[in-house]
């Protein structure tokens, strides 16, 4: 499964909820304001690394670029584009969290 998260982790509990119910083989895709969770040097960095222990974490490059943070992504988070997003949805069932 693939879990889509579109809200900032500082504003909304969507990512916490997604990671709570997501199975170990599930991926988490951060997009829109959700990409802030992938940023390094932040208060959330330890938490996203913990989540990455259980899940592949993806962040949408288009949304990272828009927010000026594509060069500050935590190591191990996979930067993907919309075509990759489509591929991931082709390969996985998908649920949306906010």
């Amino acid at each position: 499964m693939l879990h889509l998260v579109n809200k900032s982790p500082y504003d909304s509990t969507g990512l916490e909820s997604a990671s709570k119910y997501a199975g170990k083989s599930s991926g988490i895709l951060l997009f829109e304001d959700g990409v802030y969770a992938a940023m390094s040097g932040t208060a959330y960095e330890d938490r996203i690394k913990e989540i990455m222990g259980d899940h592949d974490v993806y962040a949408l490059k288009e949304d990272l670029d828009a927010r000026g943070i594509a060069d500050r992504v935590v190591d191990g988070v996979k930067q993907i584009t919309y075509p990759d997003f489509v591929d991931l949805v082709e390969q996985n069932k998908v649920a949306s969290w906010s």
């Binding site: 579109n6 829109e32 288009e62 489509v86 069932k93 949306s96 906010s98």
Partner: protein, 119 residues
């Protein structure tokens, strides 16, 4: 693969409709089918041809209408959600049609995946 797309938020206020559009476009460019885009809740507001954004901004209804024309897509605007928000046959742009919530159930049955934008 056969995709369905569900949109729950309106234009401009949230990024959801933009994200759905970019996703749909990318899927179509990869040769996937998009069986239906279903506009629900505030998502129905994406359909109004009365919108006139500033000249330097995107025109969200026209973007959707152009994509519909290019790929002959099926766009359904939920009738109950639309009526509640002042969207009717007189204001929807080219390529949109108003229909019942059952048409979301149909695409859930027929599509391989339904991707929801806005939650």
């Amino acid at each position: 693969m056969k995709f369905g797309i569900l949109i729950l938020e309106g234009p401009y206020q949230h990024e959801s409709s933009d994200s759905a559009y970019h996703f749909a476009k990318a899927a179509l460019e990869k040769g996937h089918e998009v069986l239906r885009v279903f506009f629900y809740q505030d998502g129905v507001l994406n359909s109004t041809k009365l919108m006139e954004p500033q000249a330097d901004d995107r025109h969200i209804q026209r973007q959707w209408s152009e994509l519909q024309e290019q790929y002959d897509l099926d766009y359904v605007v939920c009738v109950a959600a639309a009526k509640r928000r002042g969207i009717n046959d007189d204001v929807i742009g080219p390529g949109f049609k108003i229909g019942g919530l059952g048409m979301l159930t149909e695409v859930a049955i027929e599509a391989d995946r339904v991707v929801q934008f806005g939650a």
